[in-house]
Symmetry: C2
């Protein structure tokens, strides 16, 4: 096997504990300065600087220079996806860093996966969107049906603008904690922004974890209610909690 991409160089890059910690911290989707990365990884500033330079050189990170600060972020959704996949496999083969604590319980419920939502709430939304026929399979992956398009337009999301970007509109991202898909892609990112802007949830300080209010969670799931239902009868959101579409295969 001397063909194919150099998986070893990539994995070796991620394989250093310090660099893995940095990547995990950046999975929250927020850009961090070099110093913050150092603190997050528990290493000195010079060490962090070296690691960041390597990750940057490999194209896994991008940097935004602002004055004397350098803000680092993941280079793109595909990097986040690879990290999330590795987390899923690591969890499955039983490689944990600590035993599951209260922090992890919150993360399983809802968290950021780079720029979109993951966890129990996000997989529930995905399931509902599919059940209502808003999310459908397409030749190149996943797509929005006309009704789904209408629904998100009604919510003020400019679908056409999202489609104009090179990034895919919808993608199924396998949740490492739930082992079911949640919605990624530019639409998934737009939904996450929506949830934050409307106060459905609040982010933990320096963590991927996200806390939804009961109303916020209902509002999130109500995104899967058809546009006509939504405008006609807003109270219907509460009743919908009963028919949970999550069915284990």
């Amino acid at each position: 096997m001397k063909n194919g991409p150099d998986i070893a160089a990539l994995a070796s890059l991620i394989g250093d504990p310090a660099r893995a910690n940095i990547l995990a911290a950046l999975m929250g989707g927020k850009a961090l300065t070099a110093g913050e990365c150092a603190a997050e990884a528990g290493i000195s500033a010079p060490a962090a600087s070296g690691h960041l330079a390597k990750l940057l050189g490999a194209g896994l990170l991008v940097v935004l220079v602002q004055g004397r600060h350098r803000y680092f972020n993941l280079a793109g959704p595909d990097v986040a996806e690879a990290v999330e996949t590795l987390m899923g496999l690591a969890a499955r083969v039983g490689l944990r860093r600590t035993r599951p604590g209260p922090r992890e319980v919150a993360m399983r419920k809802a968290r950021f996966c780079y720029d979109h939502l993951a966890g129990d709430a996000a997989t529930a939304l995905f399931a509902r969107l599919v059940d209502r026929g808003m999310l459908v399979a397409q030749a190149d992956g996943l797509g929005l049906s006309p009704s789904g398009r209408l629904r998100f337009l009604a919510e003020g999301i400019d679908i056409a603008a999202l489609e104009a970007r090179p990034r895919a509109l919808c993608r199924a991202c396998l949740d490492w904690s739930e082992r079911r898909p949640h919605l990624a892609g530019s639409l998934g990112a737009a939904i996450a922004r929506l949830a934050i802007e409307r106060g459905w949830c609040r982010r933990e300080a320096a963590s991927r974890a996200v806390h939804f209010s009961p109303d916020g969670e209902r509002a999130l799931l109500a995104l899967a209610d058809s546009a006509t239902d939504e405008t006609r009868d807003p109270d219907r959101q509460g009743a919908d909690r009963s028919n949970n579409p999550a069915r284990r295969a």
Copy 2:
């Protein structure tokens, strides 16, 4: 970030060139002896033995002892998926092991991805299955529509038996060369077995690459033709052989 799975230990395990080569070789889906792994990775037998022990201990590999031979294989589809994801990211950020040669061209056309087909031909089949409405989105990922179910039953694939297994029936696996999805899951594996058994393609000796005959490629894509079109063809004897539940080679 002191929570979550230990991604560093996993990536560091994959990050060694020798181990990465072993994993890449096993992506062909065929079990290899320790000696074959050593040759594949270009290292001595003792070195390979050590690496295999580590991969085995981490749960990434399984071993089947037969006499004085020990046959190693990937532990499951999720390991293969993680490796494929890493390959995709490595290819995208420009980490290649060699410049694209003739061997790689063949691999882009069609290859094995653990136990199912990948490459240009497989992504084309996926797109057709979706276009014809046989493959649809489901709450837990991807599923077979009634028409799709009928179609593969007509081909002699025992869908009910596949669904009884813990493994998902259909999964979209992102192709690292095409950057479009191909069909994984137990159905994807069944289709790959079908293609081999009916002689639509032949495997290269010690490679993931697969060569389709022109007729074979047509036959593969014809899996996406509706069942009524297909049943006109009386030449259907080989169908029963595909019921073989034996999974390991």
